[in-house]
Symmetry: C2
Subunit: 193 residues, 2 copies
């Protein structure tokens, strides 16, 4: 099919929406961002990008650490609110329950079923964005969503965790149905050819 | 609800699956990765992480650029295959149709409805991962998925683009239904309180 050039557009879609947590002025603050993702599994590396002037940014810089809190679709109104207002104007810590993580200065948003504690390993500033590469040092999962067998933890299917997705069409989406298993679907291609 | 600590786990979920394109040994090569995401909208910044020893890596380094090709669920077998085998062993260019982008050394995978051409602006190596921060310089969208009104381009809803998601439960997922509009859902929270 013919393509149209529509100019530079960072259209990687859809992206998981998370809440980046840090302590600012002695209070837990959470910023709703889509600019967060996976960089590697072994070791567990993640990235988060926030605007230089963002209220959360000095909190991350001071602790050298932050939390990634993964919400559910039930939390959509709160998540959108936290992405629409600044911690400068609203005390977000009054709207949610927080607990301290194992890293100093890293709050965890308890209502989120998954919280990652992340230690910054590299940071850089690119065109107004503060970008933090971080290593996950601890993962907290609601007991309802984790089981243990043969000494290994197993997290519930993503449908049960019910995360929020977002795309640059400015719509939030839920996750759909499972459509296949990693490193197995390719066998269908080679079987067909 | 009580939480369990399950150790370091980069569980940001689900992540969009894309194909990173580069020219290697004179041929188009595509690596299936989940380690790719958005860093910022203005300017349009993205990130991709590939293993240092990955076949695609020297192609990105040589061109200082790469493509992000966003597949559809119909392409799942191919996408999984491209994530299971190396370009060292399989000539991936023989399995798909490519076209050159506007940047030298950047192939576009035509079957993907969206292709981003990205110029590397920063790169670093962290614990075996080659990490490329890049600025999107051009976006190609299938004509079926783009319309123009008042001089602005509008991309089809994400459900129509039908991308592939993946999570660390090793399952692929489709995108679900739209659940809300950005910067509007938060009003429900403040209306309730």
């Amino acid at each position: 099919m013919a393509k149209r050039k529509i100019g530079p557009n960072p259209y990687v879609y859809p992206i998981p929406i998370v809440l980046i947590g840090a302590m600012v002025d002695g209070r837990a603050n959470y910023a709703t961002v889509g600019e967060c993702g996976l960089l590697g599994i072994r070791p567990p590396l993640v990235i988060a990008s926030v605007a230089t002037e963002h209220f959360t940014t000095p909190g991350i810089e001071a602790a050298g650490a932050f939390s990634i809190n993964v919400p559910t679709t039930e939390m959509l109104a709160l998540v959108d609110h936290f992405g629409s207002v600044s911690g400068r104007d609203v005390d977000k810590s009054a709207l949610v329950e927080s607990e301290p993580g194992t890293l100093p200065g890293v709050p965890l948003l308890i209502a989120c079923p998954v919280n990652l504690e992340c230690r910054v390993v590299e940071d850089l500033t690119v065109e107004g964005h503060r970008i933090f590469l971080a290593r996950v040092v601890e993962t907290h999962v609601d007991e309802a969503y984790v089981s243990e067998a043969d000494g290994r933890f197993r997290i519930a299917p993503v449908q049960d965790l019910d995360p929020i997705l977002y795309a640059l069409d400015n719509q939030y989406y839920s996750v759909g149905k499972p459509i296949g298993t990693g490193y197995q679907e390719g066998a269908k291609l080679t079987a067909e050819s």
